[in-house]
């Protein structure tokens, strides 16, 4: 085996790949060969580091130097300076917002410093397509222990004592689920990994599958042994091509190593796993719908009980857990329930991965101990809201969750606290909203999402989500009345009570929390016909400040409605009647001119944009 003096770990998660990580890797390899360093320096493609904002990322080991936003053109200099002369290149390092000095080492960067990695322990460290690297970091040791040294009862007791709860949203205790499946009568049993991560703004499951697919497979081997399953499925979203490819490869390697298939590790235990591609339906994330989809049918949820642990796939006992839940299992078996239970709060143990997105300086994926205050995640790790704007709220839990206002930033992040605040853990999407975000518009966004994704089985969900979206749309166009707020509240209660599955039961949450914490914004739309965040098209107007306009014609050329009049070097003006409020003039006006202003529309100017913000 060749020993290299330096490893270059090129982040190859979807974020970095989209920014050119594969091309960067090729350039690095070519340059290293050109300099004759190929026996000293190894380039490794790793899974997602989580700091997607700064991609493409390269970590130099063993130095621990963190390079970010690297372009192929900078590679020759990087190789010359760092690898040949041993001088790390300061200008390619991370500089925190509002600071001037770069932070050379990954471990010192605020984004990474406060994280606690269990599920993501291998992210950015190993090549996810090489099973040997996983094994070298204690991979499959837990599976070997579970298969050779532990009884099924012992495994379930360990998971139960650890206090592991489902990471997909509802937080059901994993040990109890497994116990029920083990006790249920039946001739065959199944294990299923729910990787149908449909919540917009959440991508931790994708990242785990991309960065460490073997951890999920190992968790499933342990779970299958505990409940007595010999077959399992990993259901992965079709929108995640890289995750699908890596899981497929990992399964092949595990089979080739005798970690899947017949008589695993000579223990007489058989298990095979296969990948099922999702076909694009949000509701398939609901467990009974997901099983229908695996069986080749439409993804309609069904009544529970019976729960999947009693009657699941093809009517047989089935354990279905989310990607992150499965990936926690090997660590618990390896390090013990007491260790896991020492992290987190009384009722929420271990860590949780959150995707920190929206109006936040450091977009990315973070794994933190349960119970950490929201503020620490958003200000500490996330670096707060960029551009000098004020933080308004954080939306947690996707379409099933709710918005938590600035006044509650000290809330500890655990299942119970979030629920009490009207939100929920969900899969862990955290969308940060600033003063430029309209809360009525956000509620409308989620209700339209729910309406579109409702499978149509239950009338309260199918009709109710559409009706709530219609009322919200009316409010955003300035046509709302006081009675609409009451209708929303009563409809919300009906839809929550009358729907069969989680989609409908939680669909009103975005409305209920925004009404609870931001009622004044609804009232501004309804009574003053004003959108305080200047988002709702029908209630705003664009105008050109004659004192700032330099007459450059950029906005006039860009305007799709031909609503801007003006000549070169003469002040331009917008015809309010013709304006369609697309905002293109604002986005093309040069930053140093900033002549285009967004403002509350005068009452008479509102009609022109009617319909422009209507339902699509």
């Amino acid at each position: 085996m060749t020993t290299y003096r330096t490893h270059l770990l090129v982040c190859s998660g979807t974020g970095c790949v989209s920014c050119g990580a594969f091309e960067l890797r090729r350039t690095l390899e070519e340059e290293i060969r050109r300099r004759g360093l190929e026996r000293e320096v190894l380039v490794v493609a790793t899974g997602c580091n989580g700091f997607c904002e700064r991609g493409p990322i390269v970590l130099v080991q063993p130095d621990g130097i963190f390079y970010q936003r690297l372009k192929p053109a900078e590679v020759p200099r990087l190789v010359e300076e760092h690898l040949v002369k041993g001088r790390p290149v300061k200008s390619l390092m991370y500089v925190p917002p509002q600071e001037r000095e770069p932070v050379p080492h990954m471990k010192d960067i605020e984004f990474f410093k406060h994280q606690r990695l269990i599920v993501l322990r291998n992210r950015g460290r190993i090549d996810p397509e090489a099973i040997d690297e996983y094994i070298a970091t204690e991979g499959y040791a837990a599976a070997a222990k579970a298969l050779a040294e532990m009884t099924p009862e012992g495994i379930i007791a360990e998971i139960g004592d650890a206090g592991l709860r489902g990471r997909g949203g509802a937080g059901f205790p994993t040990g109890r689920k497994w116990e029920a499946a083990r006790r249920a009568p039946g001739d065959a049993r199944y294990v299923v990994c729910n990787g149908d991560e449909g919540d917009p703004g959440a991508f931790m499951d994708r990242s785990v599958l991309e960065a460490d697919p073997h951890a999920v497979i190992e968790g499933m081997i342990i779970g299958a042994r505990a409940v007595g399953a010999s077959r399992g499925f990993l259901y992965v979203r079709n929108e995640y091509p890289l995750a699908l490819a890596r899981v497929g490869k990992a399964l092949e390697q595990a089979r080739a190593y005798g970690l899947l298939g017949r008589d695993i590790l000579g223990t007489g235990f058989d298990l095979d796993l296969e990948v099922v591609r999702g076909a694009g339906a949000f509701v398939s994330g609901e467990e009974t719908a997901l099983m229908a989809s695996i069986e080749g049918r439409r993804a309609y949820p069904r009544q529970r009980p019976p729960y999947p642990s009693e009657k699941g796939l093809w009517g047989r006992p089935t354990v279905i857990n989310n990607v992150e839940t499965w990936a926690n299992v090997p660590a618990i078996i390896r390090r013990g329930a007491a260790w896991f239970a020492s992290l987190g709060t009384e009722t929420s143990k271990g860590t949780k991965i959150f995707s920190l997105v929206g109006k936040i300086a450091n977009t990315g994926l973070v794994e933190v101990p349960m119970g950490i205050p929201l503020r620490e995640i958003i200000d500490g790790i996330g670096g707060g809201v960029p551009g000098g704007r004020a933080f308004k709220a954080v939306q947690i839990g996707g379409p099933s969750g709710g918005c938590i206002p600035a006044s509650m930033l000290d809330l500890p992040v655990d299942y119970e606290s979030l629920k009490a605040a009207g939100s929920m853990m969900g899969s862990g999407g955290m969308i940060v909203l600033d003063e430029d975000t309209c809360m009525v518009d956000i509620a409308l966004y989620f209700l339209r999402f729910a309406e579109e994704e409702s499978c149509g089985k239950c009338a309260p969900c199918r009709v109710g989500t559409g009706e709530m979206a219609r009322i919200l749309a009316k409010i955003t166009t300035g046509d709302g009345a006081a009675a609409d707020l009451e209708s929303l509240e009563s409809l919300a209660a009906t839809v929550a009570r009358g729907s069969l599955c989680g989609l409908g039961q939680t669909a009103p949450n975005p409305i209920l929390t925004t009404l609870r914490y931001f009622r004044d914004e609804y009232e501004a739309h309804v009574f003053d016909k004003r959108c305080p965040a200047l988002v709702c098209k029908n209630l705003i107007a664009f105008a050109i400040d004659p004192d700032r306009c330099v007459g450059c014609l950029l906005c006039k050329k860009a305007c799709p409605a031909g609503a801007i009049a003006g000549e070169l070097k003469k002040t331009h003006a917008i015809d309010q009647q013709a304006c369609i409020k697309c905002g293109l003039c604002l986005s093309v006006c040069p930053a140093k001119v900033r002549a285009v202003r967004k403002m509350t529309a005068p009452a008479s100017g509102r009609a022109a944009a009617a319909g422009a913000g209507g339902p699509r």
Binding site: T14, P200, G358, T363, C582, R616
Partner: protein
């Protein structure tokens, strides 16, 4: 890595290679979605003849085949364009101005999301989240990710796709 994708061959159902696809499937009933996905991937839509052949070969009623084909978003029952523009409207993209980007694509192409231009060249789609939220707002054109999109960049992105075709 590709999301979406272009046109890669004639849309002749006889070339669907159904027999081979179905032979792969050990459990015909369960294979329905997988077979449809393979056809969709190869032809970028599901021709009606192909659906009939699938129904017959799998022994599944045609109504059930259509039921599945119309339920899932991954399936298209009409031909898609040589170019596919996908605009992400996940929550992160939404709060960073994704709607305005989509509207600009609609204006420039003269179609609404979900439609294909009359000349069959370009299909415009919206998606509810590609999980690349750091790049928000995001548009994917012919498999290429364009992050931090603005309305003003739309024209250039479309021109780049057209140039790619000429090469």
């Amino acid at each position: 890595m590709r999301y979406g994708g272009g046109y890669d061959g004639p849309m002749c159902p006889s070339k669907v290679g159904l027999e081979a696809l179905i032979a792969k499937a050990a459990e015909p009933r369960r294979a329905l979605i997988q077979v449809l996905q393979d056809i969709q991937e190869r032809h970028h839509w599901l021709p009606p003849e192909a659906l009939e052949q699938v129904a017959e070969a799998l022994g599944v009623p045609l109504v059930q085949v259509y039921g599945v084909a119309t339920f899932y978003r991954a399936f298209s029952l009409s031909p898609r364009g040589r170019h596919v523009c996908t605009v992400c409207l996940g929550t992160a993209c939404h709060v960073r101005g994704g709607e305005a980007v989509l509207e600009q694509f609609e204006r420039k192409l003269g179609i609404r999301a979900g439609q294909t231009t009359p000349d069959g060249a370009t299909t415009l789609e919206r998606v509810n989240c590609l999980g690349a939220c750091a790049l928000a707002p995001l548009a994917v054109v012919d498999g290429r990710y364009h992050g931090q999109m603005t309305e003003a960049k739309v024209e250039g992105v479309l021109a780049e796709a057209r140039r790619g075709e000429e090469r």
